[in-house]
Symmetry: C2
């Protein structure tokens, strides 16, 4: 048994049985070890942004980490943007990054780089197995870091000689999952007291507090106390749709976010952070809260959030409140004529199957998706959490690997989609049940808005050359087919509805280019 | 005038007039400033690997840096792999990475990350304009770092408030280009003395010593002394073909590299590093040199290499040697039947126009390209220098921006090509004169070889799932058309030859999927 075998067996002993990979020469012994382990499912991504983004989507739905396999510093670098998103979502992830054999580093061969330095900004934990003897302990430490609190990004550097050297291994064992942070009874009391003082209060939540059960409890708290419950602007996963509690998020657009909180006198945080501007804008505040707003950080992200919600409910006596208000199934009227983001949301509300997983990277085009879909069939809603575009297609890919019996629907802006378009090939290769909807507005629409905001006036030649994608227009049908994914184009609401319905009635990957 | 204007004007005053970009919100004032500068050419890449790879290809051919525009930490992260390649090529590059306004960082907004930490491993210089007053000095320092020695990667972090704040600017000026490292007359004497001692000597060169003129001088040194002249395994740019000196590179495959140096008793380095294994292999040495080989590091990478070559020639009396041996134009017989890498090289040798720029990321498929092309029309040959795949398409894109009057030919492996396939769109948008040849073997062929090398035997299911690209096969014609690039497929030597000839007789981007 060599170091790579020890790594594989330790992962498997801890239930980590899915490997998103793009290997290189320095990881060949790890590849050979994976090859000896049919229990491990290996999924190839044709660029590392696909690999780490898929690991994120997988873990959000599987509630356990996947392992990634990345090739030295540059391979890791290519995966960092989606690690950043996962870090913000608090997704558990174990990255294995191959490196040169330890004794080869002195030669500064072409692929040599400071892997730990690259990993640190986007990882909660970075380790290195300096030799085969350290392999088990380092792997266990990586898994422990991934399972700590709400979830962590663990990056384990694997020198080739640590992988290929033999060692007496013993039997790999499952490590104990670290306990979540303790709930602070004093803070629960503070929150409960605040909720009784008659002031305008918002309860801001994220993480596992956005699962259906916790939201029902929160709704009873809201009914009992008059507080408003909201979700963070971006969340790893929230459960919504018919038969669930309706919930809004903090708006992305700064003026809307400020307006949303202007009357809030008290803010209770459950896993969430106090809302801030996504960017700074000249003359506008960084915090979205009004002057003097009291903030009670009732439960940190790393505590057991459903338990914290239950404790709050008990403290306010929510058991005497009416049952949670669950949304009825609603079927909006079919849209007609021009294809708009609204028409797309309406079609989704009508057609989306039960337990769909909606992966949202629609950027500007999807901002009003909620409006039409409170009463859609119950679904999970996964977002871009760190603002690093290029997560959508990979996240949908990983979610589909985690949940083969559920339909995955990607809401994908065209500009962002191009970042990791390679993920479509993985969907074809693994025959994943994903419908990707491309919002083809043929521009970085968000940046047109931002350019206007900075007072630059109408964009000139140079600005247009950097913000528009219309010369030439991307042909998404051709791109998808090039990677083995069936695809079609819709330019009217009716065509889109029919294509979506057909795509939802079959299995396997399909892409709809929605020209809006 | 605001900080972004000062940045633009300082770049332009130093002849940096090409900006490869993928902007975001935090760079909107820089975009607006570029929009006020019609002298700056802005070229959009749909992923940051395209942006930095194009800046590398541009600078290799223009002999001056381009500027890149990247969006915060994740945007930088996406561009790091090709910055790694540029760092290894010693390409001058100025990266401008937008960041939040300085006072907004305290809020840890979603896109916040440690930008300097990410930049450091792949940069020679990292700086930050903390406010608008620092903008000119920091921009000048970045340019100076890019122009130092053979070339450096300079990364300038641009907080949004430094960009948008107003300042009294003065007139931007060109900075003095730093002097190269001095040539050490003692080392020149040592090398000259060694070249007379009758021992088997190799002169290993790279950088500007690979331009046609320096190679002619080196050939006279070789004729005078009996030494062998070789190029490093990977080089940023070398000039070759008919009318030039024929030169071989150190082989990539370790056993071939070892064999190539087994009789070398003395090694003289001109800009180059002593040859080492690209990777470590169990039981094989890291250095390619035989025991006891004497190494004379005659001229470092940051010295004036053509001057060092001239000094060596003078020291050995090469002026009494015969004129340099220049290769005659050779036209190999047309290949017939099955399409092979050799058939592709032969077609190129016949068809490639004068002064073509060949961008090589063909990995295994192009290893024998030299054999058939010593006597091809004179051309520049640009390589993957850092082993981080995904450089090819962007590098060709940037080279074509730098040299609009020359044909650019990309030799592109399929697996590597997918990493930054988005670059084809930029070729279409800018109507660049690039022919991309995809070596479609539908696998990571190099890794099949390496897996065999580690003794893993025939690949099983998991290994094949990670090393093969055949299920489904990529349809490169469809991919190219999806991005507005005309394309066709060749499966025989004859079809390939005809397609290449047609592509070389027209202008504008074209892609040939060569199914080998």
């Amino acid at each position: 048994m060599n170091g790579a075998d020890i790594l594989c067996e330790t992962l498997l002993a801890n239930g980590i049985d899915t490997c998103f990979a793009n290997p290189g020469t320095s990881e060949m012994h790890f590849v050979a070890a994976l090859d000896r382990q049919p229990r491990m499912r290996c999924v190839l991504g044709l660029a590392e942004g696909v690999v780490t983004g898929a690991a994120d989507g997988y873990a959000r739905m599987a509630d356990k980490p996947a392992v990634t396999l990345l090739h030295t510093g540059p391979g890791l670098a290519n995966g960092l943007a989606n690690m950043h998103n996962a870090r913000r979502a608090r997704t558990p992830m174990v990255n294995v990054v191959g490196d040169h054999a330890t004794y080869h580093l002195q030669h500064d061969a072409p692929l040599t780089s400071d892997i730990a330095g690259l990993a640190r900004p986007m990882s909660h934990w970075v380790g290195r197995a300096e030799n085969v003897e350290e392999m088990r302990a380092q792997t266990e430490a990586a898994i422990r870091a991934a399972l700590t609190g709400a979830g962590g990004i663990a990056t384990l550097i694997l020198p080739a000689d640590a992988a290929w050297s033999a060692a007496d291994a013993g039997t790999p064992k499952a490590i104990a999952r670290p306990m979540p942070d303790a709930i602070d009874a004093g803070l629960i009391r503070d929150a409960a007291t605040a909720l009784r003082n008659g002031k305008s209060t918002t309860i801001l939540v994220t993480g596992t507090a956005l699962r259906a059960g916790a939201l029902e409890v929160l709704d009873r708290v809201a009914q009992k106390t008059g507080a408003r419950v909201m979700a963070q602007q971006a969340n790893g996963r929230m459960q919504r749709g018919a038969g669930r509690v309706a919930l809004d998020r903090v708006p992305y657009v700064i003026d809307q976010a400020l307006a949303s909180f202007k009357d809030t006198e008290q803010l209770i945080l459950i896993g969430a952070k106090a809302p801030v501007g996504f960017f700074a804008y000249p003359g506008k505040p960084g915090s979205m809260l009004p002057e003097g707003c009291r903030v009670i950080a009732m439960a940190g992200a790393d505590s057991d959030l459903p338990a914290a919600v239950a404790a709050l409910a008990e403290a306010v006596g929510a058991d005497t409140a009416p049952p949670a208000r669950l949304v009825a199934r609603a079927m909006p009227d079919m849209a007609q004529g021009a294809l708009t983001p609204d028409a797309i949301a309406i079609a989704l509300a009508r057609v989306m199957p039960e337990q769909a997983i909606v992966c949202d990277e629609s950027v500007t085009s999807g901002r009003d998706f909620f409006r039409s879909t409170y009463g859609a069939a119950p679904h999970d809603f996964l977002q871009l959490t760190g603002g690093a575009i290029g997560l959508g297609i990979p996240m949908a890919t990983g979610a589909a690997v985690a949940c083969p019996d559920r339909k995955v629907i990607g809401l994908q802006a065209d500009g962002s989609g191009m970042y990791t378009v390679q993920g479509l090939w993985t969907q074809a290769r693994e025959n994943l049940d994903v419908v990707t909807i491309i919002f083809a507005n043929r521009r970085y629409q968000i940046l047109h808005g931002e350019l206007k905001n900075v007072g630059a006036g109408a964009p000139g030649e140079n600005a247009r050359r950097m913000l528009d994608l219309d010369d030439p227009a991307l042909d998404w049908v051709s791109l998808a087919r090039g990677m083995g994914v069936e695809a079609a184009r819709a330019t009217t609401a009716e065509t889109f509805h029919d294509l979506l319905q057909a795509a939802c009635q079959r299995r396997g990957p399909f892409l709809i280019e929605a020209v809006i």
